[in-house]
């Protein structure tokens, strides 16, 4: 009853032209109201055309608070254009998206974090290439490096959205200060520091690759980071596209280099046990011993900022912070591993394309960044809108001219390898299998 009445009131208010705060009415179906649409704030949205009352569904892996932030970030767009965006996030995103698409129930848009998966949908003819507006917007706002990940056979299938930087090593500025340790800026310094810490009786590194059904992925990030550091970016690209076999000596070199830390009983696994404990330690808690001094270094992406126990201050002068995972040969530039998601469309209705274009725009990027805990490679992103220190550092790295950015390799490979045998192989590798057997096994699965 209350529901019906409030709708009635809403209608009456509209008729009388008294829609003072119709948008704040919150009946669940706020449509564009004349006052809102005509206001100065909405002027920026006029270019998205007239799609009042249309609905666009989005499917992603983003849930809970993060999902709320998403909804907040495009609220004004919804109010001004009258397009209703219906977002659904699921922890089963990859598998469920397959089921929905195959079942003829695809969402309009999906935020796909794996270019490999995106390519698969292109190959099966399900994805629609983006409209001209979106393409133009994306080309203006994103580095070419990023655009190529969603370009298949010369067609562009979706602009990037959020990003994260994975080449980070977390540490405790407080502990470092107390012990007189300094943040390493080269690989040699990093190893020297590790030895120095190990000599005090503390295992310097902690790591964990258990992540439920995605167990193994943090180790693949390690390998990718080391591939970028021991090899050229070109070799990295060959590796992710199967231009060189997975068991190529170059890959073995990277793996062994990672092994000098990950499989070194003197170095790991601070706070948890020996090397093998990496396999069963969940990635969420892997870095936590840093806060208790049982471990000093933890290589993990920028988003690890959310995993620290409540009350931990994440800042350059705080309890924990991260430094750039140093290059081995600094003269070759600054290799950075990262990830992100792409806004791919299963429908090409005008309102869907309008949303796609909007999500690639500077307005959206800054709107989302202001809400917090979010980074994008979008060059319209104003650093002033990024509050969180680690996000700031990420943006600086992404926008740094000397940065050689490469996308997370396991996300580029076919899923059977990238989120199948590569993950599993890493688990076996940590669990004691030798480099060659593991790489041969992964190569064998890549058809």
């Amino acid at each position: 009853m209350a529901f019906a009445r409030s709708r009635q009131a809403f209608a009456i208010a509209g008729v009388l032209g008294l829609a003072l705060s119709a948008t704040a009415c919150g009946t669940g179906d706020d449509k564009k109201s004349d006052t809102a649409a005509g206001s100065a704030e909405c002027a920026a949205y006029e270019k998205y055309g007239d799609n009042d009352g249309k609905k666009v569904t989005i499917y992603s892996s983003i849930r809970d608070i993060e999902a709320d932030r998403l909804a907040e970030s495009w609220k004004q767009f919804e109010d001004c254009t009258g397009i209703e965006i219906d977002h659904e996030g699921s922890g089963e995103f990859e598998a469920q998206l397959n089921v929905r698409v195959d079942g003829g129930n695809a969402p309009d848009l999906a935020f796909i974090p794996q270019p490999g998966l995106l390519k698969r949908f292109v190959d099966s003819g399900k994805l629609k290439p983006v409209g001209a507006d979106t393409k133009k917007m994306a080309e203006e706002n994103y580095p070419a490096d990023w655009l190529k990940y969603s370009t298949v056979n010369g067609q562009f299938y979706g602009a990037p959205l959020g990003s994260n930087v994975k080449s980070f090593v977390w540490y405790s500025p407080k502990t470092f200060k107390e012990k007189g340790w300094t943040v390493p800026t080269s690989w040699d310094e990093l190893i020297k520091l590790s030895d120095q810490i190990a000599a005090t009786g503390t295992k310097p590194w902690c790591a964990g690759i258990e992540s439920g059904e995605a167990t193994g992925w943090p180790a693949t990030d390690w390998i990718e980071d080391l591939m970028l550091r021991t090899q050229t970016p070109e070799v990295y690209d060959q590796w992710t596209t199967h231009g060189i076999p997975f068991n190529d000596p170059k890959v073995a070199e990277a793996l062994d280099k990672a092994g000098t830390i990950l499989k070194n009983e003197k170095y790991v696994n601070g706070g948890f046990g020996g090397v093998k404990s990496i396999a069963t330690t969940s990635f969420q808690e892997a870095g936590v011993p840093i806060t208790t001094g049982k471990c000093a270094l933890h290589r993990q992406a920028s988003f690890y900022a959310n995993q620290w126990p409540k009350g931990t201050k994440v800042a350059e002068d705080g309890d924990v912070f991260a430094f750039y995972f140093p290059a081995i040969d600094a003269s070759k530039g600054k290799p950075v591993l990262g990830g992100g998601e792409f806004v791919a469309a299963f429908a090409d209705r005008p309102e869907v394309q309008a949303v796609q274009t909007y999500l690639a725009s500077g307005e959206y990027t800054n709107s989302r960044a202001k809400i917090g805990d979010w980074v994008s490679a979008n060059n319209k992103l104003d650093l002033a809108n990024v509050a969180n220190p680690i996000d700031k550092l990420s943006v600086q790295i992404l926008q740094d001219k000397s940065t050689v950015f490469r996308f997370d390799g396991s996300d580029l490979m076919p899923a059977a390898v990238g989120s199948g045998t590569f993950w599993k192989g890493m688990v076996q590798w940590i669990n004691g299998k030798d480099t060659k057997t593991v790489l041969d096994g992964i190569e064998g699965s890549w058809k």
Binding site: S61, I62, R63, D64, I65, E66, A67, D68, A71, D86, E88, G89, S90, G91, E92, Q96, V99, R100, D102, G103, G104, N105, S211, G212, S282, Q284, E285, V288, F303, N306, Q307, P309, K310
Partner: protein
Amino acid sequence: MTTATPTVAAGTQKTGGRGTSAAGRVRKRLNSRTATIVSIVIALVWTIPTFGLFISSVRPENEIKGSGWWTFFTNPSFTLENYQEVLFGRSSSSGQLASYFINSLAITIPSVLFPLAFASLAAYALAWINFRGRDWMYIAIFALQIVPLQMALVPLLKFFSTGVSIGGVTVMPAWDLVDEQKFAQVWFAHTCFALPFAVFLLHNFISQLPGELMESARVDGATHPKIFRSIVLPLITPALAAFGIFQFLWVWNDLLVALIFAGGGDETAPLTVRLAEMAGTRGNEWQRLTAGAFVSIVVPMIVFLSLQRFFVRGLLAGSVKG
């Protein structure tokens, strides 16, 4: 009997109220006190993992991750924060846990009733109506139990979203359901998936009803529908309750079917979907799962405990023949 709990009472009524079952005899010959103690100890051991989770659910996040739940007793630090977050939450949608609760109910009730009714009709036909090939049909339905749910998702979703057409002729249009109408899809899916087991279970009971009962009814001129309604149905009510509990537990705890056919919004998604979501985008809030698990257990527990009596009788009905 001093231990005339409902369970036991139900059991003894059927056996003539004398309260001496074979097992009872065996047990008495053993040392009854030892048996009692051992069985209680086992029951307690069985409960320890759940109990541990329960203790964890009232501990602060950092402690869950840092020390064992048993340290709670030496170093108690109690918090309701996990429950607070699960029930009232920090995210905009979590204030509406009640809403998901209602969704769960709206999904579960018809998803239990439909298979119950259809399966008991089918089981009766397979057990007591003579027609050619019925044994093979029963075996076929029985064997369908093995079809993995996962493999049925895509075809069934296609059935809903694009309808059925044979040779270009639309036999059934797409359902095109929105919001709460999607419940219908979930009912449909759960009913399909439940039927083989339901038919198997109910057939087991119905086929063991005494044949003389049916015979005499037939002689009196009763038709099959009449026999089904007035003789079979009352006799198998307990068996229905038994299957009802299983189906209830299954549907209530289901995540996969709901994810596909109901979607994730608060208009249709059940509690399980919401709880799974609550782990956060990167599983960073997994301590909430401890509290979440308990919130979702409450209803099945109440249902089980209150229907336990029927449940036990239901399985008795299966052995009426002796």
